[in-house]
Subunit: 266 residues, 4 copies
């Protein structure tokens, strides 16, 4: 029944200056709106559609910037990891380790992440049913770490399209773990631009509102000062200027949703 | 920006007494909640999964009962039609003619419905994209009748499952016609019980909340005093005792949603 | 274990001359190839994507032309029907009545078709599972008419795309009725051109080969002398000049497939 | 136009004796049938549905057994790898390195595999379109290694179901790389047994026949002496006694398919 959390930031940590600038904006706006904030940034994009896609700043530089953002703005920071070694290293720095959707069934990665003792945000694979996430969570919980978040970022629906099944949020909540809705990757069009993914950011606010209405614990939404020129996920990231209205809409709905729990248990 | 409308009633008009009893309950509860109410009932189930499924009371008896309900409770009434002849006959009695999803591409039926001058609620075929509904609406509007409602009742997602794509509601709203969300058929599991359809009514309230949060104009939700023993759609109809809480949840969310229009135009 | 049958012809009966010309070509080529031939032509396209799509020549003219084709070329003729009245009228003339996929759950139409005593080719709705066709066949068989063909023309797969599930052919064959594979509608892209459907005819021969290899009884494939300018289904119809090679490929594979029944019973 | 290759073996290398016994059977039967044979076995199942699923014999023991099988039976051997270190180590021993479907977008793994100089069999992610595999192949080819096989093992279709899109085989062949069809994983039902995947092996032979008919270069099909009691993939592996008939069916169809190339270029 606590208010929703916003997990946001640019898809990639493009540079120290850029990441700090976006963190500053988001920290300020979430504070105004009374919304708890987690900064998200990736140091490496390990699964780009094409080899030509930009990879990122690297783990050493990335973790330093994330630590600086946490110290500067007082917010928890989140990043995604791709192998056991990265789990250990990033786990020394960040508050929340994220398991990418494609890797959500990789047992060793889930266990390595769990063993760091950090909170783990696992994205539901686009190829998994919501109820499959109980088995995924069990792999992490086997380490004794039950600080687990289950995140929906869309499900494969034909080619190059994802669909968000809002029955899935209460289904995942039946595990007892908080459920996160990723509003910007859910409107991605995988591979839709040939050498990179497309997307329709215009529909992200509608999906976020729907997720809040069914009662989810956090909204994940990437944001950028110039999304049309961002090195990755441009078509689906939110422009910064949308954030104040986005937060105002969601906080108003969230108060209602959290005050009323659904008959069906969510 | 007007408050949402509830379209509700039993799947089938089982008998005069039964229909009146349910209409009475729904009229009373929607009045208490300040929600405009449309009574829905079918006189014929023309596309049951199996031949053994009960068909219904027939058009003559059905239309008489619908007229009585309108006169008794002062609410508009809606029924679904399956051929040109039925369009004409039902069009003389009911306020809203409904085109079943499977028939949403049958040009002659759409035109016959349009020509009655009644409001037409067209369900999006499970096999159609949201944007395909612009062509469907154009067929009706070609008769000069623009009193058109576009209704989402789920989209085919693998076998025996439907998924509700909440990007589809704003997409359909781009036509300018009001958008209805059918919360109970969206949780149907077509053919899921072999000789009849299954369903998971527990998720219908969550989907209705999501639809209200994105701003839709009306919620369609079938309701029954004993859904587990209803002759059709039992697994997905709402029990009557859920209705007061359902309305309270939705009206609270609706006030917020209607007060704030989404950046993306819905 | 009999050789496969080719059901072919233009999507629409555009004119007497055009239909006879295509029938002549197909009758000649199938005779050369030793393939039994059924001529297919529609007198009305009742469910075009858009109102602007051409409807067809009408039932009176259409049935006369179909009768002439049967008399001239000695082949059975097939057409699709959309209501009970058409079932009766077309049933007096044609050898095979076809139920369109969108109408495959309309009980009254299935029964009216069955009552004509003609062979009924029912297309599997794009929204149905292969095993749902057992209930569809039962509706027809309830009339005492068991001359039923079950035809796969693709299943909804995301938006504007169909996929052919080749597990579905043996599943449908478990009913005991012959299974037809519709190679040209399976490569349709519903609504893919905005006001009409798109398609990729280049993949139709591959799918037809796959269907023959799993042992199906007949291939349905529309053909046209100038598909790019045809009034409907142009993007997915086969050009006539593909037919001889198409038949040669399929007959060679069919001999092998029919000589060897699959362990899994198909 | 060369005859198809069979890639087969048990899902897991359960023990030296077990692997040798199955390899012996398959080597003997493929030799009789004149079908080139590649032995497949996994030393680690890194992405089991549930933590309770058995993982495997480990890389050290596994590679020794694979080397022994190659030496004993004179066949190439294939195994799947999950990280860069495994790519290097397995690349010193096996002839074909396989990239699991879930990992088909992991750039570093694809490059590490490519750099071994071995043949790489990449499975198409269940979440990818066939044409996305051109980007995947480019990542490998960027190492200068163009010994690439593209393998279809099914595409997500609703929950817990995969569908094999046979348009995808010619689409992937447009890259110029040989196309493999994985007949046994394509009939898997992911997560279908709660803590493990289900499957319907009865349909694997039909899908393999379809794949051969459209002209693919190799069939991947796991086989086991007691699939119902196998530690993984039991529901979809072929019993060894099916193999002789399976090979006879496929070789007969393959001769026809390879002799006739499709108009559409496959």
């Amino acid at each position: 029944d606590k208010p929703f959390v916003l997990i946001s930031g640019p898809c990639q940590i493009e540079s120290r200056e850029h990441a700090l600038k976006i963190a500053d904006f988001l920290a300020t706006e979430t504070k105004k709106a009374g919304v708890p904030f987690v900064f998200k940034g990736s140091y490496d994009k390990a699964n780009r559609t094409s080899l030509k896609g930009q990879r990122g700043i690297g783990i050493d530089a990335g973790l330093l910037i994330l630590a600086e953002i946490r110290d500067t703005f007082g917010c928890p920071v989140l990043t995604d990891i791709h192998d056991i070694e990265q789990a250990k290293r990033a786990g020394e720095v960040v508050d929340i380790l994220q398991i990418p959707a494609f890797l959500s069934r990789q047992t060793d990665l889930l266990i390595a992440a769990g063993e760091t003792g950090r909170t783990i945000n696992v994205k539901k694979g686009q190829f998994l049913a919501p109820w499959d996430m109980a088995n995924v969570a069990d792999k992490i919980a086997s380490t004794g770490n039950e600080k687990i978040l289950l995140c929906d970022r869309g499900t494969s629906f034909g080619y190059q399209t994802l669909v968000s099944d809002f029955r899935g949020l209460p289904m995942m909540a039946e595990t007892g773990y908080p459920v996160v809705f990723d509003a910007t990757h859910s409107v991605q069009e995988p591979g839709g631009r040939g050498g990179s993914s497309g997307g329709k950011r215009d529909y992200a606010p509608a999906l976020a509102r729907a997720a809040i209405a069914v009662g989810c614990a956090a909204i994940f939404a990437e944001a950028h000062d110039d999304p049309d020129n961002a090195p990755s996920d441009g078509p689906n990231m939110l422009p910064l200027e949308w954030i104040p209205g986005f937060l105002a809409d969601l906080t108003a709905l969230d108060r209602i949703a959290k005050a009323r729990s659904l008959k069906a248990g969510f």
